[in-house]
Amino acid sequence: MSKVVEISPTTRHEGHSKLVLKVNDEGIIERGDWLSITPVRGVEKLAIGKTYEQVPKIASRVCGICPIAHTLAATEAMEASMGVEIPDDAYLLRIILQCANRLHSHALHDILALPDMYLPGTDSKINPFSPEEPVRSVAKRIQTLRMIGQTIGEIVGGEAVHPSNTRVGGMYKNITPRARTKIYDLAKQALPLAREQMEFMIAIFENYGKRDWAEMCGREVAIPKDLGFHNQGYMATDPCYGSSSLDEHPTWDPARWLEVRPWDWYMGEEDITLEDPAYPVGGTTKAGGKAWPQMQACTGVPLYDGQPVEVGPRARLATYRNYDRKGAIGLNIAREMEYMDSVYKMIEAADAINTSGSVVADVIPQGDGSIGWAANEAPRGADVHLAKVRNGKVEWFSMLVPTTWNFPTCSRALTGAPWELAEVIVRAYDPCVSCATHMIVLDEDNRLVAQKLLE
C-alpha cells in the first residue's frame, strides 16, 4: 500500500518549495509532486499602469539570483510590444551581460549541487565550504568564476546585481575601449578556470551516476541508473540568448502555450503516513498531518503543446546540439557544458562591438497596445515575458519564469526514484522558486540585536 512522505521546505536552491511523494513499500516514488510554496509574486498586477521604463526595473527586483534575465526579458517584451529595434552594439552588450550572468549562475549551482556528490574514490560527500583540500581549491575557483561573471556584469550592466544600464531601445551607455579590454582580459582569465571547473564537475557527476548507493538518513539508498528520467519534451528558444516576437523567425509561439490551474494538475488532499527524522535538514514532515498540493501550490502550470516541458541547459543542448543524456546526471552535465560557451561568447561579442557605435534606437514608438513577447534563455531556462504597451503605459504584463515550466516536468521525473533522492533530482533543475523581502530581526532567544540607537 502506498505511503505519503512530505519534504518541506526543500533546500539548497532559491526560494521555497516542497515535495509530496507517494511511495510504495520499497520507498520508490509512484507519484511525486514538486510545488512552489513561495507566495504569489503579484508583479504582473503591479506592472499595470506603470511606464515601460519602470516595469523592467520592477521585474528585476523579483529575484536576486536572476535579475539580469528578468531585466532583459522584460525590456525586450516592452520593445516587442512597441516595435522597437535596437542597434547591433546594444545587442552585443546584452549578449555579454547574458553570458556573464550565466557564468556566475552556473558556478553558484555547483555550490548547491556539490553536497549531494562524493569525492571520487571515497564515500565522503563534498561540502564546498570545507577548509580542506582539494575542496578548498575548487571553492576558490568557483568564487573566482562568480567574481568574474559579476564584474563583467557590472561593467556592462552598471550594477553587479540589478543592472541599470539596460533600457527600452537599447542601452543607456556604450562601454569604453578600456572597459572592453577589461572584459576581454577577465574572460580570458575565466577560460582555463571554466574548463577546469567543467571537467571537475562532469567527473564528479559521472562518478555519482556510476555509484550503486548514496548515504541518506544514515543508511545506504540505491541510486537507480535512470535517476530523474522523464518522457516530456524540451523547450528552448536559442542556444545562448533568446527570441522575441520581433524576430523574423521567432522560436517561441504563444499559441502553443496554455496555463492551467494547480488544481487541475497536482494531487488532492493526502494523509502524511511516512516520516523520517533522520532526513537532512531536520527530518521530513511528521506523520499524521495532511498535504494538499493542489491547494498549496503557488504557481500556475504552463503547458506547451498541451504538455509540461523541460527548460534550461539540457533543453538548449537537446534542441540545438543533439544532446541526449537523460536524467538528473544528464541535466547537471549539460549545465557544465555551457561554461565554455558562456566565456567564448563574451569574447566574441567584446571583439565585435564598436565602442563608438550608438546603443540607443533612433525612434522609440510609445506602443499601440499590441502584444509582444520576449523569451530570454536564463541560466535556468526560458524566461518568457509578455506585454502590451499603449501610449507609454503597460496595460498587461506576464512572466513565465523558468522554474514555473520545470515544476510539472520535474514532478514527472521523480517517478521511480527512491524518495530519499528526490531532492537530488530537484536540484539538478537548479530551481529558482522566486523570492520576496527579508530582514534580520532578533537572535535565537528573541533578544534585540543592537548596540545602540542613533538619533
Binding site: 521546505p9 533546500t11 539548497r12 536552491h13 532559491e14 526560494g15 521555497h16 507566495p39 504569489v40 503579484g42 498586477k45 503591479l46 520592477i58 528585476s60 527586483r61 536576486g64 539570483i65 535579475p67 556566475h104 553558484l108 555550490i111 548547491l112 561540502n127 564546498p128 565550504f129 568564487q143 573566482t144 562568480r146 567574481m147 568574474i148 559579476q150 564584474t151 557590472e154 550594477e159 553587479a160 546585481v161 540589478h162 577589461k182 582569465q189 537532512p280 535538514v281 529558482c432 523570492c435 520576496a436 523581502t437 527579508h438 530582514m439 534580520i440 530581526v441 532578533l442 537572535d443 535565537e444 534585540l448 540585536v449 543592537a450 548596540q451 545602540k452 540607537l453 542613533l454 538619533e455
Partner: protein
C-alpha cells in the same frame, strides 16, 4: 584580480518592491551624490546581497564592509542602529540550506573576524507581507527622513 570589491564596501540590501525594505538601495542612490575615495565602493546589492555578494568578498582585498539594511530592532520608525558583526547571532555555517533563505548571517559568519563588518539598520514603518499581494514602491516618510543621517554616518565611517 582587479574585481568587484576594493578595500571598503558599502552594500545597500533590500527589495524596493516592499516599502521600507528598499532603504538600503535608496541610501546607495543618495551616496552617489557624494564623491567617495578610490578605495571605497557603494553598491546597490538589492536582493542579491547575502549570497551573490557577501559570499564573494575576499578578505585579502576588502578590510571593511558596511551593510545598510532595514531592520526590526524595536525602535521608532526611522530610528537607526549600528551593529558590529560580533554582536550578530551565529549563522548556520554548518548546514548551507538555501541561497534565498533571506539570511545575512550565514555569509557574514564566514567573514567575521576577517574584516571589520558594520550593519547600519533602520527601523521600518511599513513592509508589506510577501504573501499579501500588496506592494509599496515608496519609502515611508520616517525612513525617507533617515537617509541623510545614514549618509553622514557612512561618510564618517569611511573618513570622508
Amino acid at each position: 584580480m582587479d574585481g568587484l570589491f576594493p578595500e571598503v564596501i558599502i552594500a545597500g540590501v533590500g527589495n524596493e518592491l516592499f516599502g521600507d525594505d528598499g532603504f538600503g538601495p535608496a541610501v546607495i542612490r543618495a551616496l552617489s551624490e557624494h564623491e567617495l575615495p578610490d578605495n571605497v565602493k557603494a553598491m546597490d546589492v538589492g536582493l542579491g546581497g547575502p549570497h551573490l555578494i557577501f559570499s564573494m568578498i575576499d578578505p585579502e582585498e576588502t578590510k571593511k564592509l558596511i551593510i545598510v539594511d532595514c531592520m526590526d530592532f524595536g525602535g521608532e520608525p526611522g530610528n537607526l542602529t549600528k551593529i558590529p558583526a560580533d554582536l550578530l547571532p551565529k549563522g548556520r555555517e554548518e548546514r548551507y540550506m538555501d541561497a534565498h533563505s533571506g539570511n545575512l548571517l550565514d555569509p557574514i559568519g564566514r567573514l567575521k573576524g576577517k574584516m571589520e563588518i558594520i550593519v547600519l539598520g533602520c527601523q521600518p514603518a511599513y513592509i508589506p507581507a510577501p504573501d499579501s499581494e500588496e506592494f509599496a514602491l515608496e519609502l515611508s516618510p520616517e525612513v525617507q527622513g533617515a537617509i541623510p543621517k545614514t549618509v553622514s554616518i557612512i561618510l564618517k565611517e569611511i573618513g570622508s
